[in-house]
Symmetry: none
Subunit: 212 residues, 4 copies
DNA sequence: TATGAATGAGTTTTCATTCAT
DNA sequence: GATGAATGAAAACTCATTCAT
């Protein structure tokens, strides 16, 4: 019951929310400035707490960074897996659903910045990069080169939004881009039946057109 | 002419080469670790000079960073412009030439890291990002959405090589990827005559197939 | 009388015992790590209370420290004075009784660490050091140089047990050491009649052998 | 040639002297306040340098501490060994020489504080304590209990000077104490022929009086 | 020019102390 | 009374920058 929560003392409610508030603040700043250039004090200020409070929840800057990446990735993975598992329909429909779902849950939210973050910090944090690689990228790359081609316009777009987009005066219509990119990618795949094998079902078997 | 240089006293030769040696060392480290996490002392050490020497050629860390980006971009631009200007043939041939040239001169060299660097530092260095955007990206984006789609596999690939590639055990054959990506992209463009307008000549006018 | 206490509600009993539980925990940790290196949180944890509770009984870290020293010293002094006052017999018997009593009540208990604590912190807490000096050391030193000589083996031993003893693999038999030291010291005093004047009575007058 | 040194640039001369200047300053403050309560900035100030300079010579506070102990102990050991090796005469003469030499080189100098430092910090720095124990104390303790008894008046005295002595208004005449203690100790040993075995020569064999 | 010792401002981190619950 | 989340002053440590040599 929600009444239960509303009765809880404010302090306690805060204590539970704090880690998420802190990682949210940290995500924004890490994505914007990078790990080294972000001051812990700024993260704390953005989360509305003092410097010391941060250390009640995280062992240090690096630990906070890891939490940011982990928390940013895991929910996204769950979503994607649900989407794929529940999908009934053609492979190209699946791709469309996946990308659109990604845009809603990740691409258009602060989580979209994680990719930029990983790109920028991968070599400074090999373990985290490995984790990201294993959990997020490996499966896609397991299949074949085409996966990279298929996804790069979308990844590129997410990274762009968190870096050089600030130099681009034109507002841009993200959704329009996404749709155009989908068309483009599906056209690129069309004459290569069997190359679209995101779903691991026979649906994507050689000889079968991705359009189903 | 080159004999002239070889006869010069070593000191003098060194003096002229210094800035380039320093920016080369800085490029490597900035790309690997990012701006904030790179220590000037490490750059100096890699260039084989002392920390103080750096200040004889650059006003400070930020100045060095700007020099790295500028020196990394300008020659690439010159090359690309030459390639485009001298091109005689179909638009899709031009694209192939451009990408292959880019791979040779930029993608496969340390300069390929500049893109990652700009992605990571754009928001910390708005002026440099603007410079990069104006000189490198604007023209391509001036035309239409398709440009992004066309280039993202290649940009993505370059960025990849300087970040998460370290987690990828498989060696990978860069050239094979480039060629596959070219085919993919050209196929994506095929049914949209007129959308390929990289060269600013009538060659890319609507109604004309990229294949010529 | 003691039944009275055992009937009291647990809370209340706790309340009265708290200060002693806290100083006991503090004594252990101050002796082990020194004042500055001991965290209030660790003391609280060892006493089984929260950090805040400490402030209900002591004004702060320094106040707690003073209480530890005071509580550690006063009972010992009372004991020693009782022993001396009640003593009937030779001066050397008194010394034996004193040292053996000290070992039972102080040397072999956590209170033995107080000496080490005072040695380590005297210059950081001049007032407490002065208090310790006035109450514990002055009288002994009032007489003459011999006092120091007589007591140093025992003081040394107590200090040792709380510092470098941890490096000594050999278990050691404390009581044997104490007895050997007593013999040694009494022998050192023997040819110097009158030098043993711990008790402030004429018993220790010149010309009288400590053996009586 | 001393002229050689005098010609050296001031900077360089300084660089060589710095570590010793810093450990000297650190010794004073560590002995006075203990490790945890001593601020690195105070050490630097006492040595006449800035905080950062300290880190050019020592990896951190703990490293500096180790250097202080090591540098304080090693020369003392060398001296003691030379004294023992060169000694010709009775065992009790050797003891007198040793103690007097110790007083001159250690006891009366800042190095005398090392013992207090080790007593206070042994449990916080087990490795250093072990080093101190192995190098300084083991040999003496290897023989028998008597060693502790023999040396405790002197050790105690050194410790005293660096802790509670500040509470003692009376100036005190150190040398007089040392001499009195020597007499006392030798008397304590006298009736136990053979127990004085500091020198490892037959001179100290059982049955032979320490007086030779 | 070139060096590298020295600096000190800036950042992370710790922990005694407070106070709302 | 008791708690423990929150605070912020203080201390360790880093590193861009300066400057005497």
């Amino acid at each position: 019951m929600s009444r239960d929560t509303s009765v809880r003392p404010r302090r306690e409610r805060r204590k539970e929310a704090r880690p998420a508030e802190l990682t949210a603040a940290a995500l924004d700043l890490f994505v914007e400035r990078g790990f080294a250039a972000t001051r812990l004090e700024d993260i704390a200020a953005r989360a509305g707490v003092s410097k010391g409070t941060l250390y009640l929840y995280f062992a240090g800057k690096e630990d906070l960074f890891k939490a940011v990446v982990r928390e940013g990735i895991v929910p996204a993975l769950t979503q994607a897996e649900t989407l794929i598992a529940e999908h009934r329909g053609s492979a190209s429909d699946l791709l469309r659903s996946l990308i659109r779902g990604w845009w809603q849950l990740i691409g258009s939210t602060p989580l979209g910045g994680i990719t930029k973050l990983m790109i920028a910090e991968a070599r400074n944090f090999p373990e985290i990069a490995q984790f990201y690689y294993d959990e997020v990228l490996r499966r896609a790359r397991d299949v074949d080169t085409w996966q990279q081609l298929v996804f790069s316009p979308f990844i590129m777009f997410a990274v762009w939004r968190h870096s050089l987009a600030c130099c681009d005066a034109r507002a841009g219509a993200p959704e329009a881009y996404i749709e155009a990119a989908l068309d483009f990618v599906l056209r690129g795949l069309r004459s290569d039946p069997g190359s679209l094998s995101i779903s691991r079902e026979p649906a994507a078997a050689p000889g079968r057109s991705p359009e189903g």
